[in-house]
Amino acid sequence: MNTKTTFGVPLEQVLIRRKARISVAVIGNPNSGKSTLFNRLTGLRQSTGNYPGVTVEKHVGTTQLTACAVELIDLPGIYCLSGHSADERIAVDVLLGRIANTPKPSGLLVVVDATHLYQGLYLLEQLLEVSIPTVVAITMSDVALANGISLDIAALSKRLGGTPVCEVVAKTGKGIEQLKVALEGLPHQPQRGFPESWPQLSLAAAQLSDKSGGSIARIDIIQALLHPENPMDPKMQNLLQNKSVPEIRERLFRGQPPQAEEARHRYLWARETVQEVQQHAPAISRFGARLTRWLNQPWPATVMFFGVMVLVFQAVFSWATPIMKQIELLAAAAGLAVTERLGENAFASFVADGVIAGVGSVVIFLPQILILFLFVIILEDSGYLARAAFLMDRLMRTVGLSGQSVIPLLSSFACAVPAIMATRVIPDRRDRIATILAAPFMTCSARLPIYALLIAAFVPQQYLGVLNVQGLVLFGLYLLGIAGGLITARLLKSSALRGPKPVFMLSLPEFRWPNTPTVLIKLMDRVKVFLKRAGTVIFSVAVIVWFLAYYPRAEINSVLKSGQPSVSLPAVPAPKAANEAAALQMEQSWLGRMGRYVEPIFLPLGWDWRVSSAVIAGFPAREVVVAVMGTLYAVGSEADDASLTQKLRSATWPDGKAIFTMPMVLGLMVFYAWCLQCAATLATIRRETNSWRWPVFAWGYMTSLGYLGALVIYQAGTLIWS
């Protein structure tokens, strides 16, 4: 093929993007390095969307080959085509072309982890039944080699009926070019015979397919035979009414569960294949491998788990502070510059106090949220979250759940929305709902801004040994959220959601270093989501709050004049006068009037109308609270360069007593830990449980719990304090 030229120019030099002509599904076991390979092949030419009707994310990218481009669809990692969970179902549905707007793939790229060849071969054999052109990519062969295992690729390819097999190291790019050549050859692949592992099943399905006149594909018949419990369309039902079918079933399954028989046949073949293609060499005894083996033992692993958690909270506080100080200074300087440039008028106030103070007060927390997400992504990518599930299963059993709930609960430290979606791996519906209702209690990244603000303002910056006291308080708040969630799950599991003990099983991936590009791509996704929220929801709320606080204008001049009627009184210093005017303006603004209405409800918690208004504004999205406080305490304040923390410290009741006393601050933080202030979470609960009952219950329950917690702490704390 030396004629790959266009008008005398080598095709490689033609800089036009070729349109994707074929679409290939990328599929493999969880943690097989599938996403890393996908990212390597597509680079940044990928997009994330949703499959219609379900919330599983759809990742699509294109890779440029020499003569054409290929569209790659990254499917969720699965072990089999049996479809216990939503992820597995979507993968099967895409493969078999049952999803609207997603054409049936014309080829498969099956990713097999060389260190988990046994389980990889099982899925691979199931996929070969789909009988579309297939390429196999063997990943992690460098790790396998270090463990003393190399693979005979030619023998493996022969075992797979001549399916092309390529060894790739996604990290270094080794083997990627050969893989691209193999992808290019997909449309010209010759027809394969039946997979070797269970030819009787393939043959029976092929004969039934012939009976249907070829209108039903072999793979669809296999799926129907193996999963009699699944609903099937009338055509299939009709076909399986055939009088030969009971005899076929008996011959294939011998009265056993069909999937058990499938596992017996295919794994028998997989064992023979592994023995044939694996060549053993002396293992390079790496210190790292021995260390991880030691760390996986129960006690070291459990100690390390808590060590990692403490490290995360320390890092969130200590590492982010310098960057946050810079952003804070920048926001203050920008606000001041605007006021100087535009003078004292409504527009200047709008820009400085509404937009910059409001949105700026949330953007400040970007560094902390980045660090938190970075840790969660690394824990996920290194396979550590599954380890945590194993370690915590025993503990979760005491609240009636299983280790399977640990992964969603840990990821809800970043955000409850993806966490609630992640509960779809939990097979039992009752366990799943209990986990969904526990998830919003976990301290998500949106709670971080208010915690960070209050802790920085009111908890002393001291060290207890090596531990930062502020970090410890934050850790305590996380524990408070965990306790709230677990107690809730326990209560539900022993009342409304009572059921049999959950079955727990999980594949435990080995620890592996996360792949930097994969981590960065995931992190950028989260940053985009955060900034989009800051630019839309938080921006709008900040603007509305500014408007309600700025209008209607008080007659400041007349107030000032009438405020100084007699020269005999000691002269009021100018800043103080301005401050009083600002307070007066705030009080008679629309927001001030509204605040007065709700103040009685929150007075028992020690909140003034400004805190109350901020908390109410935070019900759609809790991080708005900081933005609202930023705006409320910025409007008309005399010291624009003072940080929000200083403004909070000096806030007083009309009688001069401080508003933010220790009991009030602690109560506010407890309210925050337990209250469900997130419309997105409620919408997700509604969608995932398919009823209004659970979101309504979650909202009412968590809000009352937060209110009661804050009430008890404030009232008891004030008694003890005074």
Binding site: Y118, A263, P298, W299, D393, R394, M505, S507, L508, E510
Partner: protein, 77 residues
């Protein structure tokens, strides 16, 4: 003897599986089938769940399910 009775570090070959019990078929799909050599690595704190390895892949199994797998242990080395 069942999978739940092995000692840490002990290997065994799976002999018979009671497929009628809950959760058992799903463990078979992960590779625990008759004739497979498995190794009991260790249990989590509290003695449950168990970490079982098959051909280098680790699977977490609760004691309750492990007891449905009859095994022939290898003599301890």
């Amino acid at each position: 003897m069942t999978l739940a009775d092995l000692k840490p570090g002990q290997s065994a070959c799976i002999r018979r599986i009671d497929t009628s019990k809950p959760g058992v078929v799903r463990l078979m799909v992960l590779g625990l089938t008759e004739g497979t050599m498995v190794r009991f690595e260790h249990a989590a704190i509290g003695g449950d769940p168990l970490e079982i390895s098959v051909f280098g892949a680790s699977i977490s199994v609760r004691r309750q399910q492990a007891a449905f797998f009859d095994v022939a242990p290898e003599p301890a080395l």
